[in-house]
Symmetry: C2
Subunit: 202 residues, 2 copies
C-alpha cells in the first residue's frame, strides 16, 4: 500500500478548507484506483460500525447494508448490476455494498420523510471511517435498480439508494487512460454558494 492513489495525489495539492476543520472531512475523496485485494469481513464490519452511530429521526436508524466480499457470489451479482463504467473500476473492489433505507417508521408504519437523508448521514460515517483506515469508499448511483431488487429479493418496504465500492487504494498508473485523467479529488462550491444567512437565496 506504499504507492497508492492517496500518496500519489497529496490532498493539499487539490483542495484546502477555507476554515480550520477536522482533516478527515477534506482528506476523504472518492478515488477509482483500487488494488483488487480482498478485504476482510472485519474491515467491512468496522466501517459499518461507524455508520450505525449516525443520528436519525426518532432514532429509527432506517439504514440497511447488504455487503459482499470479493468473490462472494453476491459480489459478482452486485458488480453485474452496476453500469458498465462503474464495473470497469469497481471490479477491483474488495467489497461491494448495497445501501437501503426503510421507507416507513417501524413503530407506526407512517412514511419516514427523512429515511434517505438519515441514511446519507450513516453513509458519510462509513465513508469517513474507511478513509481513516486508509481504505477507499466510493459511492455509486449508476446501477440497475430492478436487477438488484430482483436478484436480492429486496422488499418494497425498502428503497435502494446507492451502491458502494470499498477497497484497498491502488496505483493510479494501473487505471485506463480515461479513468486516469479524471482521478483526482473533486472541487467544491464555496460556502457562500451553499449557504445563506436569514433568507432563501439560491
Amino acid at each position: 500500500m506504499s504507492n497508492n492513489v492517496f500518496s500519489q495525489l497529496p490532498i493539499e495539492d487539490y483542495r484546502k478548507p477555507d476554515k480550520k476543520i477536522e482533516d478527515l472531512f477534506w482528506h476523504r475523496f472518492s478515488p477509482r484506483a483500487l488494488s483488487g485485494e480482498a478485504l476482510t469481513e472485519e474491515a467491512v464490519l468496522t466501517v459499518l460500525e461507524a455508520a450505525r452511530f449516525a443520528p436519525s429521526a426518532f432514532n429509527e436508524q432506517p439504514w440497511r447494508f447488504i455487503y459482499s466480499l470479493k468473490d462472494d457470489k453476491a459480489w459478482y451479482e452486485t458488480l453485474d448490476s452496476l453500469v458498465e463504467f462503474n464495473q470497469s473500476w469497481a471490479k477491483k473492489s474488495g467489497a461491494l455494498l448495497i445501501v437501503l433505507a426503510k421507507n416507513n417508521f417501524s413503530q407506526n408504519n407512517k412514511v419516514n420523510h427523512t429515511a434517505k437523508f438519515d441514511t446519507g448521514a450513516a453513509w458519510q460515517n462509513l465513508a469517513l471511517q474507511a478513509r481513516a483506515l486508509g481504505l477507499v469508499a466510493h459511492g455509486m448511483s449508476g446501477f440497475d435498480h430492478e436487477k438488484l431488487k430482483e436478484k436480492f429479493k429486496i422488499s418494497d418496504d425498502f428503497s435502494i439508494i446507492a451502491t458502494i465500492a470499498l477497497g484497498v487504494p491502488g496505483d493510479i498508473d494501473n487505471l485506463s487512460e480515461d479513468l486516469k485523467k479524471d482521478e483526482k479529488p473533486s472541487g467544491r462550491f464555496k460556502v457562500e454558494k451553499i449557504s445563506s444567512r436569514d433568507k432563501f437565496d439560491f
Copy 2:
C-alpha cells in the same frame, strides 16, 4: 462551558463501539441542553465548511443551508416554525438552520434521486464538526413545512428536509423535568441488525 451536558453525561457511560472506530462518531450525540448563548457567524460557517466536503452523485452538491443567528428576525421565524416540543428547548440555540436539497441536477434538470441522501452526508459532516468544536448540533424533523416554505419563499426546486439547532451545550439541570429524563445519548442497533452478508435479510 465547564459544567455542561457533554461533561455531565460521560459518553462511555452510555454507549461504546463494538469495533475500534474514530471517537468522533460515537462521541457525537444530540443533546437538548443548550446554554442560550449566541454563536458567532464564524462558528456557523466552520460547521458549514465541513458540510461542503461531503460526496455527491456527479458532484452535484445538492445541499443548501439557510442559517440565522440567535435574535436575527429569521431565527425567530425558524423557531416559530418548529413544533412546540422542539421550540421548548431550541429557543436556547445559538443558531438555527434549515436544510434544503436541490431536487434536480443542475446540468440537465433530471431528477436527482440521491439529493436527500447526499444532503444527509453533508449534514453528518456538519454534525461531527460541531461536536469536534464542543458544540451541539441537533437535527429536527418536527417543523411546519408550509410555514417555512411560505415565510422564506423557498422555491419548488428545493425540498425542505430538516432543521438544525446549533448551540453551546448547557447544564442539564436547567432542562424541564420532562426533558431532563430523556437527556442521554441514544442507543443503537447492533451491526447485525443493520447489515447482512450476501443477502437481503431485514
